[in-house]
């Protein structure tokens, strides 16, 4: 039995070429994003800065710009983009709906409410201030999805329709609560809105590491479910008849995708469209099998987010546009174009 006989299974080897090319493209875009800014960094200085940083001798202005300002920001944008896109792909797979996104079960509205609560009440409630926005956002996002899941649960089953409906309902309530907080303390409203729209301006290695530590296991769990997700596209009944433990896979994926989403949102705010558009576009371009789709969605989510953040900090420099505004402005029309293309 030679390799050619194995290839038709297509589950044997992930098609290497598109992934390799995509990773190289991501590396190039990240290098570009580190180079561009108020102080341009030429390629040689960029390499020098990276090497110095890796060795632990960060000296000189350029090294500080490369290693302590731009690299953490670019890496964080890449991680958040990859996380949202991967979580979006997982949600779209679980719900067999290309319009599902990572915020479907209320992670975004939960995080938004948590962040708003800290921003409004931190002055009056010291423990909220100590908790900080990222931790509160993360905890509220997880708690919201947990509540939605418990409400939707019917015995040992997690019916997709009830999950989506309770996600929408709980999400709307929390968004209303956040809006109320903004109206009630108008002096903080701009701060809350700016957090909600997303930014990587406060990126640092210290903020990045906990996010990476949460994302890595979540991403691995989602990638490991590739075959189950494929079979689940046949419908839950057929998947069960093919031996897939539907409820366990579903719950595992919801936990992993929610962890990734909550971690991303807690440090970057509620950045929309990436988790919806990128997996969808990758599916149209490279096909639906998840062992190909999931890694490519992660890489292209990272690439898209790094570019969006680059635009966010350069288009009206020295001011910044919230990165969520950029992703929505670019992602919206792009998504509409995809929808129209699909219909024909």
């Amino acid at each position: 039995m030679d390799r050619a006989d194995v290839r038709p299974l297509a589950g044997r080897r992930p098609a290497p070429a598109p992934l390799v090319v995509s990773v190289l493209a991501l590396a190039a875009v990240m290098a570009l994003a580190i180079s561009v800014g108020s102080v341009p960094v030429p390629p040689a200085a960029l390499m020098g800065g990276l090497v110095d940083g890796l060795r632990g001798h960060v000296h000189g202005t350029v090294d500080v710009i490369v290693w302590q300002l731009r690299l953490p920001r670019v890496v964080l944008a890449a991680l958040v983009g990859a996380a949202l896109s991967l979580a979006g792909a997982a949600f779209q797979g679980v719900f067999r709906n290309p319009l599902a996104d990572p915020y479907l079960l209320g992670a975004a509205s939960g995080a938004g409410f948590g962040a708003a609560a800290v921003l409004v009440f931190a002055g009056a409630v010291p423990w909220l201030a100590r908790l900080g926005v990222p931790v509160a956002a993360f905890a509220c996002a997880m708690a919201t999805v947990a509540a939605v899941t418990l409400v939707a649960r019917q015995g040992s089953h997690l019916p997709s329709v009830s999950l989506i409906l309770s996600g929408v309902v709980v999400g709307s309530s929390l968004t209303a609560a956040t809006s109320f907080l903004m109206l009630a303390s108008r002096d903080r409203a701009a701060g809350i809105l700016s957090w909600l729209l997303g930014s990587f301006a406060y990126a640092s290695w210290g903020r990045l590491l906990p996010v990476a530590a949460l994302l890595l296991p979540a991403a691995l769990a989602i990638l490991a479910a590739a075959r189950a997700l494929d079979v689940m596209q046949l419908g839950e009944e057929s998947a069960a008849q093919l031996g897939v433990p539907i409820e366990a896979v579903k719950l595992g994926l919801l936990v992993a995708a929610t962890l990734a989403t909550a971690a991303a949102v807690s440090v970057a705010g509620v950045i929309g469209f990436v988790g919806l558009v990128v997996p969808h576009a990758v599916r149209l371009a490279f096909g639906a099998p998840h062992r190909r789709l999931l890694p490519l969605a992660a890489v292209w989510g990272a690439l898209f987010m790094v570019l969006a953040d680059l635009a966010a900090r350069t288009v009206v420099a020295p001011a910044e546009v919230p990165v969520g505004v950029i992703t929505a402005l670019v992602g919206g029309p792009f998504f509409l174009a995809l929808l129209r293309k699909q219909r024909t």
């Binding site: 039995m1 006989d5 194995v6 290839r7 038709p8 299974l9 297509a10 589950g11 044997r12 067999r96 490991a224 479910a225 075959r227 189950a228 494929d230 079979v231 596209q233 046949l234 419908g235 009944e237 057929s238 069960a240 008849q241 093919l242 031996g243 897939v244 433990p245 896979v249 599916r283 149209l284 096909g287 639906a288 099998p289």
Partner: protein, 257 residues
Amino acid sequence: MSVVARAVRAGYGDGDVLRGVDLELRSGEVLGVIGPNGAGKSSLVRVFTRLLPLREGHVEVDGVPLARIARRSLARQVAVVPQSAELPSGFRVEELVAMGRAPHIGLLGAPTAADAEAVEAALRETDTERLRRRAASELSGGERQRVLLARALAQRPRYLLLDEPTNHLDLRYQLEVLAFLRREVARGVGAMVVLHDLNLAAGGCDRLAVLDRGRVAALGAPSDVLTAPLVSKVYGAEVEIHTLDARPLVVPRLPRG
């Protein structure tokens, strides 16, 4: 070797759809299941794959009670060709057929040469090799049905359960499905097929089970089962039974006027 149902009661909500079904699917036979809409034919398929829990009674596969067979292990023994031929978009035919190997590979395992060989054989036997690179959305109804047959074959099951596999198919594909079943049972597979077309059932099945309101109203060779009184009673429609090549031929009496 057989799948046996004894006094099976099962249903949805407050009602029972199956109300005491006794039936045996033997290796090497095509067992046709016929009966009017709502008689419980599809529910029987769901009971045999543990999607519909038993309320009473007993089902066993080759002597092992269904409840003691793990879902993945059951999927290696019993394959289902579903009623609706909806296939997810974005997958090629060979990828869809390879999904039949899921119960053998497991969720975290990697496909082996044996898996690839089973997929190739399934493509070959269903004559879908030339479709392998096609997207599911580009297939005709008959081609989609063949892909579903190939997926079930890739499971290498001992029993095949087909739920109205000839629905929406033209005559040629209907005969093709029956020819496929004859080939498989000649290799020792036991096939249970839910059919609406009584003449197709009479011509293609070794035995017929007539389901009526959740019970087996008749069971046996087509010529014994398909009698005018029984068919008229179960379906509530007047029919004449003729004999052609020693097989019963059901001719409905059309209302005149």
